[in-house]
């Protein structure tokens, strides 16, 4: 199946990277898409690319109190909802000996609290209407607690666990619940990092949409699936000696 089967989609965290690409590709396939993000200028630029299909909503996921009303406004203006994607996420640079609660709580606000605020709304709706697809963009980083970005890793681990719980609740009602675990993707979030191979945001979005039709956790590459199976199974005493 292709992304063409969706008629009404919402993407949270839509102004750059995978999110913006998801919006573009969904709109190109004929869906009406609500693009939700903080940056008005970027959203407006995105709307200009396909003004008939893309609707922009300025919102900071650090303001969860706004979510119920905005969710209802968006679904009303879209005319329905069959795909909801939570893509917002932050991964600030963290020093090797840095334990900064201010910085860490910022990650929690976006990657966890914002995710729960939005996904709860979408899950409640899908539970009632008994159809829909819920996608959470996680990360391979959530598979283990690593030295480099402790709270980011934990936040993606939370998301994977939360999505699994939603999947266990909702899949019996005909709802598709998908966790996507991208590896390194060439976006603003990874601009400060150095990887030998990075997937383009365009490819990441395309594969995400292709995999969104089947409930479960999905890596974007087969090699990631193998590599992270191994990484998940490395014994902890050994893992702490490794620099991965």
């Amino acid at each position: 199946m292709s992304s063409g089967s969706y008629r009404y989609a919402v993407v949270i965290g839509a102004s750059t990277g995978i999110g913006a690409e998801l919006v573009r590709q969904l709109a190109a396939s004929g869906a009406r898409v609500a693009a939700v993000a903080r940056n008005r200028d970027r959203l407006e630029a995105l709307v200009r690319e396909n003004p008939e299909k893309i609707l922009a909503y300025v919102h900071d996921v650090k303001c969860p109190a706004e979510v119920p009303e905005l969710f209802q406004k968006i679904t009303g203006e879209l005319g329905g909802l069959d795909l909801f994607i939570y893509n917002a996420g932050v991964m600030p640079e963290i020093g090797a000996n840095e334990y900064d609660f201010g910085k860490d709580s910022g990650i929690i606000d976006v990657n966890i609290t914002g995710a729960v605020a939005w996904l709860d709304q979408a899950a409640l709706r899908f539970d009632n209407v008994q159809h829909g697809t819920l996608v959470g963009i996680g990360s391979v980083a959530g598979d283990r607690g690593r030295q480099g970005t402790p709270v980011y890793n934990a936040s993606k681990s939370f998301l994977a666990s939360f999505m699994e719980a939603l999947r266990n609740r909702l899949s019996k009602r005909g709802i598709t619940v998908v966790t996507i675990k991208p590896g390194p993707v060439d976006t603003e979030m990874t601009a400060h990092m150095q990887f030998s191979h990075m997937m383009s945001a365009k490819d990441a979005a395309r594969i995400t949409l292709a995999k969104s039709h089947k409930s479960g956790e999905h890596y974007l590459k087969f090699t990631h699936k193998i590599a992270f199976w191994i990484i998940r199974n490395i014994p902890s005493p050994l893992f702490r000696k490794l620099k991965i």
């Binding site: 119920p68 009303e69 209802q72 406004k73 009303g76 005319g79 409640l124 009632n128 209407v129 008994q130």
Partner: protein, 467 residues
């Protein structure tokens, strides 16, 4: 800041054919104030309202994406019943079943019923349903003494057949106001059974000849058409005429509501509740071709021999196999019914079936009925015939079925025919303009702007057809 509708109100609602559905905020009011509250809530939340009864319209007449769904099925009290005059007064959410179960024992039957007993009176009047006695009894609206209608402009009005508006609200597909109370004249009967005469028709000519012969002398008539048959058997089917038993005697046993109940098994042992599961195996072209042929060939057993059948069994054929529509899942089906003046009907319906056969999209069921015109504003009826067709919808055939329907629409319009919104899924705005005409549409729009100035009431159908 607009008003927030409680999130848990949202639900998925579908047309009876299950091929169209929508998510909406569902409210089931129990009194007038709650209906007004729903109107108010929708206004404040910037939403539209769709009226819904039992959801028996096949297409998208009682659904609306992201709207407030005002479902009237909890307003079903019988307010009064007078067995001497045969006039019943009920809240409009009462169903045809609620009515006949109460009145039958006193010797009264609804004057007009649909092929299923589950529609509400509100839905039946919004669509102005007809039955197999349409040429004799007209539509249900012709038997209504008065209705109370709550309009979105806040007015609650009692309408009778002396009011022009009566003829617009009845037939107005729930787009002008909510019918909340109905006073209906029932039909006096002595016997809960009908005398039924089955006749096999070898082709279209015999079908129409049977109607012309029996319409003047029977009380009900209907014919099934095998849309798969070609050549000599093109247009073949089984015709049934039925009469109330006028022997001047009361038959109290047959008037007991329990005596009317349909058996819950087939052939005495096969539980009907599971039949739809097996029906799925046959719900394809090959299976339906076989069933249609077998049905026609087995017709010789009862050919020409009158038999007695309960009013319920004869009238509510759609209720005979519970949940039969599920056999059309996952894609559901659409029903296509067109009404063509009698002079042109044989040619138009034959052409419609030819188009189906050429496209390999034969209707799995064809039902032919006779009709008479009526005075209702958005009437579907003509002095002629209707052919109702069921088309299975799949992901692969939807476009082709709709293209076929559009070709069939053109034939109907060219012949001066009409359509029935309770069944519709395929009309386009230009089709509606063609069959209703500019004057009728102008009158409808004038009433709409007076009674519903904020255009609060709508539906997926109304939006599709630019009403």
């Amino acid at each position: 800041m607009s008003v927030l509708i409680p999130s848990d109100r949202i639900g998925h609602i579908e047309g009876f054919g299950q091929s169209s559905g929508a998510d909406g905020y569902v409210y089931r009011p129990t009194n007038l104030e709650q209906i007004q509250d729903c109107f108010e809530l929708a206004r404040k939340a910037g939403r539209k309202v769709v009226l819904r009864g039992a959801g028996r319209s096949y297409g998208d007449a009682s659904i609306l994406n992201e709207g407030v769904v005002l479902d009237i099925t909890r307003m079903r009290q019988i307010l009064s019943w007078d067995p001497r005059t045969g006039v019943i007064e009920a809240q409009a959410g009462a169903t045809i079943e609620d009515i006949w179960r109460l009145t039958l024992e006193d010797g009264w039957w609804p004057p007009v019923v649909s092929g299923t007993m589950f529609p509400t009176l509100a839905g039946a009047l919004a669509m102005n349903i007809h039955g197999k006695n349409n040429p004799q009894a007209g539509t249900i609206g012709e038997h209504v003494e008065e209705i109370d209608v709550l309009f979105p402009n806040g007015e609650l009005r009692t309408l009778t057949n002396q009011d022009r508006l009566f003829y617009a609200v009845i037939s107005g597909f729930g787009s002008l106001g909510a019918i909340v109370r109905v006073k209906l004249r029932m039909k006096k009967i002595q016997n809960g059974n009908l005398q039924v005469l089955p006749l096999r028709c070898a082709n279209w000519d015999e079908q129409f000849a049977a109607f012309e012969k029996y319409v003047p002398i029977a009380d009900y008539q209907v014919s099934w058409v095998d849309c798969f048959a070609r050549g000599k058997g093109f247009g073949r089917g089984d015709f049934h005429a039925a009469w109330y038993a006028y022997d001047g005697q009361e038959h109290p046993l047959s008037l007991n509501a329990n005596s009317q109940d349909l058996p819950d098994t087939i052939l005495g042992f096969f539980p009907k509740s599971s039949v739809w599961r097996y029906l799925r195996w046959f719900n394809n072209r090959t299976g339906m071709r076989m069933i249609n042929a077998a049905k026609h060939r087995s017709g010789f057993i009862s050919e020409g021999r009158p038999f007695q059948q309960s009013l319920v069994a004869f009238s509510f054929l759609l209720d005979f196999v519970p949940d039969w529509r599920k056999s059309y899942l996952p894609g559901g089906f659409i029903q296509y019914q067109s009404f063509v003046p009698k002079e042109r009907a044989p040619e138009v319906f034959a052409h419609q079936v030819e188009l189906q056969q050429a496209a390999g999209l034969e209707s799995f069921l064809g039902v032919l009925k006779r009709h008479r015109p009526d005075k209702f504003l958005l009437s579907h009826a003509v002095d002629g015939y209707s052919l109702a067709l069921d088309f299975k919808i799949t992901a692969g055939n939807k476009q082709r079925v709709f293209a076929l329907a559009h070709k069939m629409n053109d034939l109907v319009l060219e012949a001066g025919g009409r359509f029935y919104l309770a069944k519709d899924s395929t009309l386009r705005p230009s089709d509606v303009e063609a069959y209703l005409g500019q004057d009728t549409l102008a009158e409808y729009r004038k009433l709409k702007s007076e009674l519903d100035p904020g255009m609060l009431l709508t539906s997926s159908l109304a939006q599709r057809l630019d009403f």
